[in-house]
């Protein structure tokens, strides 16, 4: 059985299972390093594989560090820790809806569209794309809220300086 393993984003191997066990025992390969052999769907941290690391042997197998760099081998890995961080990407959907409806500005619509993209990209495993969409949604929310705030302040200045406006404002839809 030939194993491949990943150190600092570099793909190494193949090595026999006995060699890999020896590397694990000597800490040349850590339980957080990703390993793969033919037949596995994903690269997994060595500490998660019972055949390599019995639960009793390495009690400190978790927490798993996120892998660094891209793996040159197929299939692409997705370690549990990167999935966990993907869960934490905010989509700002509800914030976008609030600024669209309350701030009443066309800037809320792009915010909603970027917010809608976040979960789809995340589901497809495009974590950088999801994070970029999340950042764009946040920016559009801030722009919409910021412009609304500026308008409110401007309006207060106008109303404060002229009583004429206040008598007409009641007819505006709000």
């Amino acid at each position: 059985m030939q194993w491949y393993y990943s150190k600092n984003g570099t793909q190494l191997g193949p090595v026999s299972e006995a060699d890999l066990l020896a590397k694990l025992a000597s800490s040349e390969v850590l339980t957080t390093d990703l390993v793969w052999k033919d037949g596995m769907g994903n690269w997994l941290p060595a500490g998660q594989l019972r055949e390599l690391v019995p639960l009793s042997a390495f009690p400190a197998a978790s927490p798993l560090a996120p892998p660094s760099g891209n793996s040159p081998y197929q299939p692409p890995y997705s370690s549990p820790s990167s999935m966990a961080s993907a869960q934490a990407i905010p989509n700002y959907l509800w914030q976008s809806i609030v600024v669209t409806i309350l701030c009443c500005w066309p800037f809320g619509i792009p915010a909603i569209i970027y917010a809608a993209k976040v979960d789809g990209l995340k589901a497809r495993g495009d974590i950088p794309g999801a994070m970029a969409a999340s950042a764009s949604a946040k920016t559009w929310c801030m722009v919409a809220a910021g412009i609304w705030l500026v308008l409110v302040v401007l309006w207060l200045v106008i109303v404060g300086s002229s009583a004429v406006f206040s008598s007409h404002s009641g007819s505006f839809p709000r």
Binding site: A88, P90, N91, L93, W94, Q95, I97, V98, T100, I101, L102, C103, C104, W105, P106, G108, I109, I112, I113, A115, A116, V118, D119, G120, K122, A123, L151, V152, W155, L156, V159, G160, F165, S166, S167, S169, G170, F172, P173, R174
Partner: protein, 136 residues
């Protein structure tokens, strides 16, 4: 729990409560310093949020039907959004996101985006039944 986050959340809640009380007591026309919808002012068209202040006023006085007549989409989406944001704020205040959040999934998010745009267009059409979507 980071203390200043709790303070910010409390301050925001307090401001919101003050706004609600002012609106409850004085009504939309009793707040002349509140700017109306700039989009409506410039174009004469309704935006997706037009009628929402009056709808909030009607809701505060228990007139839910009238509120839905003024802005049906806002009356559905805003409570949902408030719940979603509220859950996120709780997670933010305690420094650790809650294990669950109000999520509609990728398809649901796209559906909401299209519904908002469609609502914006439809409520500006001058024929029945679309006129029902625009505030009287």
């Amino acid at each position: 729990m980071p203390r200043n986050r709790a303070c910010w959340a409390a301050l925001g809640f307090l401001l919101l409560a003050c706004a609600a009380i002012l609106l409850y007591q004085r009504g939309p026309s009793g707040l002349p310093w509140l700017p109306g919808c700039t989009f409506h002012y410039l174009t004469g068209l309704n935006c997706p949020g037009c009628g929402m202040t009056r709808a909030a006023y009607a809701t505060l006085h228990g007139r839910i039907g009238e509120a839905f007549r003024l802005n049906p989409l806002g009356m559905i989406l805003l409570p949902l959004a408030s719940l979603g944001i509220g859950l996120e704020i709780i997670g933010w205040v305690r420094g650790k996101p809650l294990p669950f959040r109000l999520s509609v999934g990728a398809k649901g998010a796209w559906a909401i985006a299209w519904i908002v745009v469609a609502f914006w267009i439809l409520r500006n059409l001058p024929w029945w039944p679309f006129t029902l979507l625009s505030p009287p």
